[in-house]
């Protein structure tokens, strides 16, 4: 038996080779497995070379040996039969993979913004009409009123002195920022260009700007007020519809101030009801002391000059004036361009233009302007048409009267900002309602029942001739009897009011008493001389009204203010009053809310108690039931931005007396 040990690379070990067999003398086969082989060996590469290490393992080469007994010598001479097997020892050819990381191809988009650092101080230069611009209060741009002459020539220009000089509390603002509660200016949806959108997004938060302490403010604005400023600032069409008392005036003035200071607007017109002109002038003095303000008033010749003056940044006009002055502000120059144009027109109490066909609405819409804002606490007083009317000023044709409420709500979402006190003033003192249900005196009952019977009978007799006006007359007649009996002068409400006021007098508090009739207010005043009543209603000349409010605020002897809903429902700050009496009820809950909110607003010293007088089992109670339902409906509707009618419909008015409304009757 012969063994020969060969070595082969392990890499080829998978190649098969026949089993080794050997034959011994006894012809008993012995397999290779029974033979002991050397252990595998690993060959190391020569020093200095980095060839891979190979492992070799032993294997046996087997061959058969046949012995013949016929002779040793002969047998030795025969060649041995050898079986061979071939293995391919060379591996496959190496492949080289080249990994080139390379540099990423990077495309860069660049945007360059007007910094304001080197802005020219040119008078009368046009505002930045199209370029979005942030509130760069550091800008060196001179405003359009950088003309001393303008101030000299107009006595009504507001020339504040040193200002109130109170800085915003930077620490408070920075804390808000650190807490992630900063307010950024977000571009409205109608800003299309990416560059303009980015410019708004890249502006610092308003808190950041105010914290730099470059502008005077009477106090640090509330966060929701800065939200309102950030909302107004970039918009060309906007409605700020905050509930009364949240500071729409301050928000509008601050936004105007920032726009003026960054040069984005240069000529601003503010339109408000006539009684509020002095209030706006005062608010400008408070919130933007450096901005000259001119009130348009006086003789026609003077007003024409005021309209055409271009060097005053802010002008204030009243609604009543606009139809009369339309020829002044719509006049064209030789090139056909309007002589008078504004970068921004702001309408306060913009529900004044809800009637699209009204002279005021048409006059307002005729003003040449680039931006249009509307301020109102009651964007919808009666129906969705009110909103359509306001939008005819903001963006003509944007809304149509036939739009469904739901679609209307989604369409205007980007243009309207409305917050309620409940949402934003969690620390405002509460407003407590107290419904005083009054039973008429026997004398009043007698008169009331007689009037109602006669009235209903007369209405029934009118048949098809009946109009809404006939019903109104009866309602008014009955409501007046609920206040005072015209025959005897008896008044259950008055008795209750006197009792309540006695309590108030003891605590030194003041009260406002609302009625819809001047005659009622005067009757109340005659019966309460001990409280030194003051009057604020439509018959008080506008120039005296501010003095009335001042006396009421400052003179402790004047304990009550008798106000009509019409005159006292808008734009007055009476937050030092804690008690409000609604001697009779208005037709529309929104107007009542406005009246109440004269006292219940920011700065209110404590809870505001609202007492609503209601003569039970009378027309007042029937109206109240309907109004309460509408008030609830308003809350539901406006939260979904889908307003509907709020005032009494013609059907509702006729139903007060169980009458059928004719087809031609008109709504209230």
């Amino acid at each position: 038996m012969l063994f020969r040990i060969l070595w082969r690379r392990r890499s080829n070990s998978h190649a098969e080779h026949p089993p080794f067999e050997a034959t011994n003398e006894e012809n008993s086969p012995k397999t290779m497995a029974e033979c002991e082989l050397p252990t595998p060996r690993t060959l190391t590469a020569p020093a200095g070379q980095s060839a891979p290490l190979d492992t070799y393992e032993p294997f046996t080469l087997s061959f058969r040996i046949d012995s013949y007994v016929t002779g040793w010598n002969r047998g030795l001479e025969r060649g041995l039969p050898v079986e061979t097997q071939k293995w391919e020892l060379a591996g496959p050819a190496f492949r080289v993979l080249a990994l080139n990381p390379g540099a990423s191809k990077i495309e860069v988009k660049s945007f360059f913004f007007f910094s304001g650092d080197d802005a020219p101080s040119s008078e009368g230069a046009p505002a930045n009409d199209n370029a979005a611009s942030g509130p760069a209060i550091e800008s060196g741009t001179a405003g359009p009123a950088n003309a001393p002459g303008s101030a000299r020539h107009c006595a009504t220009i507001n020339r504040p002195g040193a200002g109130h000089g109170v800085r915003c509390d930077a620490a408070v603002l920075l804390e808000r920022l650190a807490a992630g509660a900063g307010h950024r200016i977000h571009p409205p949806e109608d800003v299309i260009k990416l560059e303009d959108r980015l410019h708004y997004l890249l502006q610092p938060p308003l808190e950041f700007i105010l914290a730099q302490r470059q502008l005077e403010f009477p106090h640090t604005p509330f966060p929701y007020q800065l939200e309102g400023v950030a909302f107004l600032f970039p918009r060309h069409a906007a409605i700020l519809a905050d509930e009364m008392g949240l500071g729409k005036t301050m928000q509008a003035i601050t936004a105007i101030r920032l726009l003026l200071r960054c040069g984005e607007v240069r000529r601003v017109l503010l339109v408000c009801p006539k009684p509020l002109v002095s209030n706006w002038r005062r608010e400008f003095e408070l919130w933007a002391p450096e901005i000259p303000v001119m009130v348009i008033e006086g003789e026609p010749q003077r007003r024409r000059w005021q309209w055409e003056l271009t060097t005053v940044p802010v002008k204030i006009a009243n609604y009543e004036l606009l139809p009369r002055d339309q020829e002044f502000f719509t006049a064209k120059d030789e090139s056909g361009e309007p002589k008078v144009s504004f970068d921004l027109v702001v309408l306060d109490e913009s529900q004044r233009i809800k009637n699209r066909s009204g002279a005021t609405s048409q006059a307002v819409r005729a003003i040449s302007r680039k931006r249009s804002w509307a301020l109102t606490g009651t964007p919808v007083e009666n129906s969705t048409d009110d909103l359509v009317g306001i939008f005819e000023f903001l963006s003509p044709g944007f809304l149509t009267p036939d739009m469904k409420p739901h679609r209307l709500g989604t369409t205007i979402a980007d243009f309207v900002l409305r917050r309620t006190k409940d949402q934003v003033l969690t620390d405002l003192p509460p407003k407590l309602f107290r419904d005083a249900e009054i039973e008429l005196t026997p004398e009043q009952w007698k008169t009331y029942e007689m009037a109602e019977k006669e009235g209903v009978l007369r209405l029934s007799e009118l048949g098809a001739e009946i109009t809404i006006q006939h019903v109104f007359e009866l309602v008014i007649r009955l409501k007046q009897i609920c206040n005072f009996d015209p025959v005897t002068g008896a008044s259950a409400k008055m008795e209750r009011l006197e009792a309540d006021l006695e309590e108030l007098a003891d605590s030194g508090r003041k009260a406002i008493i609302f009625s819809q009739w001047v005659a009622t207010l005067e009757e109340i005043g005659r019966r309460l001389p001990q409280y030194r009543p003051l009057y604020f209603h439509g018959r008080i000349p506008p120039q005296h009204r501010e003095e009335v409010i001042r006396r009421f605020r400052e003179d402790p002897q004047h304990r009550i203010l008798l106000m009509s809903y019409g005159a006292g429902s808008v734009g007055l700050n009476l937050q030092f009053v804690n008690y409000v009496f609604l001697f009779d009820r208005w037709w529309n809950p929104a107007v009542e809310d406005q009246a109440i909110n004269r006292a219940h607003r920011i700065g209110a010293a404590g809870p505001v108690i609202v007492t609503r007088f209601l003569a039970v089992d009378t027309i007042e109670q029937r109206i109240n039931t309907i109004l309460e339902q509408k008030r609830a409906l308003f809350e539901t509707i406006f939260s979904a931005t889908a307003p509907k009618r709020l005032a009494l419909t013609q059907e509702e008015i006729f139903s007060l007396f169980n009458l059928q409304a004719p087809q031609t009757a008109k709504a209230a």
Partner: protein
């Protein structure tokens, strides 16, 4: 793209800046507070802010915002989406993000600026590799969480803590970059409410940077502008 000078520090642009006189004319002057808080000086400041946001399908989009000293935007540059190649992913491994942000995207953006920023602030530690390729000082603004974890004024340990804490990358990547010199050894710098991580500059440069940044950093949150960049990048991505 220039190589950073290590021994002889280049004079930074702001170090030569002359203080401009600031005059507010007419009615604009009324209503302003009497102390203008060196507004003119602050207007001449140029601060650069770089950050990048990851994309859902991999890669990044980067933005570079230049503000003046009162926080108003002067320039904004943003990249189109940058997606690493497979080869880059393999070869750069955990150092891919530092490579993309600090060596590719940020330098490309900075090269486009017309108003060079005197100091560049970043908010991802990976972008600190930028300090190897630009002349301007580059500093990392630490988040409040990270700031709380590092020891004020500490040197390399702070850097290590940041690598660990900066969460965007495994510690080994930061440590490896630190060891090979791709990232500088750093120390923390407290400025007002902000904690910065800055390379181990000579004292005089640290002092100059402190003086330069102090009008901002003492009062304002230096992280805030990065929020603006992110909002702008998201807007740019939305609008294509």
């Amino acid at each position: 793209m220039t190589t950073k000078h290590t021994g002889d520090l280049p004079v930074l642009p702001f170090e030569l800046a002359q203080q401009k006189s600031w005059q507010t004319p007419s009615w604009q002057q009324r209503g302003l507070m009497k102390q203008q808080d060196n507004v003119g000086t602050r207007l001449s400041l140029r601060l650069g802010f770089f950050t990048a946001i990851p994309l859902a399908d991999g890669g990044y989009v980067g933005g570079y915002l230049i503000l003046n000293g009162v926080g108003r935007p002067i320039e904004f540059h943003c990249t189109t989406p940058v997606r690493p190649t497979r080869a880059q992913e393999i070869l750069y491994g955990p150092t891919l993000k530092p490579y993309l942000l600090g060596e590719q995207m940020a330098p490309a953006l900075i090269a486009k600026a017309k108003s060079p920023a005197e100091i560049i602030l970043v908010t991802e530690w990976e972008a600190l590799t930028l300090c190897q390729v630009v002349e301007q000082p580059v500093a990392l603004v630490l988040s409040p969480e990270t700031s709380a974890a590092v020891e004020p004024g500490s040197a390399q340990s702070a850097a290590s803590a940041t690598w660990t804490h900066s969460v965007n990358g495994p510690r080994s990547a930061g440590a490896a970059l630190l060891e090979c010199g791709a990232l500088p050894a750093c120390r923390t710098l407290q400025m007002g409410r902000n904690t910065l991580l800055v390379p181990e500059w000579p004292v005089e440069r640290v002092t100059r940077v402190q003086e330069y940044l102090s009008p901002w950093a003492e009062a304002f949150d230096l992280l805030e502008p990065f929020g603006r960049i992110r909002a702008a990048l998201e807007e740019a991505l939305r609008r294509g």
